[in-house]
Amino acid sequence: EDKVVQSPLSLVVHEGDTVTLNCSYEVTNFRSLLWYKQEKKAPTFLFMLTSSGIEKKSGRLSSILDKKELFSILNITATQTGDSAIYLCAVPAEGAGSYQLTFGKGTKLSVIP
């Protein structure tokens, strides 16, 4: 059975800090790993990672995948209060053409002024 574990489960930082969120996974026939940001109800897509060592970047957010060690990290630099959210990591289920996502429990990030 696919497994996704995120750490830490919660994190409180001050504005301007840099944070690193972790996601480890166990999945047969790995295809991709996805990061989402959930502020209220709907998760918002951030990144999809398929290749090791290639950093994906969007503004102050970046993410990288290590397929050998089976983990990914999400970095947020110069954090702002608007970054406060739950960050979810997910992998598609095993099987070609299977799109069902298995989610980790998420990391709740709180950025205080």
Partner: protein, 115 residues
Amino acid sequence: SAVISQKPSRDICQRGTSLTIQCQVDSQVTMMFWYRQQPGQSLTLIATANQGSEATYESGFVIDKFPISRPNLTFSTLTVSNMSPEDSSIYLCSVVRAGIQETQYFGPGTRLLVL
């Protein structure tokens, strides 16, 4: 990304009643899914909504409790039947667009409270 709408955005219901949630997408999509997120928990897949045929349910979810329809490529409904307080959750639909494999986009969600 696809533009996805869900109705209602929230509701408060009495136990024993049923609620139907609608999900509408602005363009044809390959796959549509329904997820549940119970308080303090992550997202759990309920089922895959199949166009023109019965939905495919995950372990622990059954059609009698969560009937799903998908009459066309842009619309689906999820009904939460005979509700109990344990059904209080956020219900989310998600879609995969043709040609953009594996990246799922989520609707705004429906927050349900069952009293």
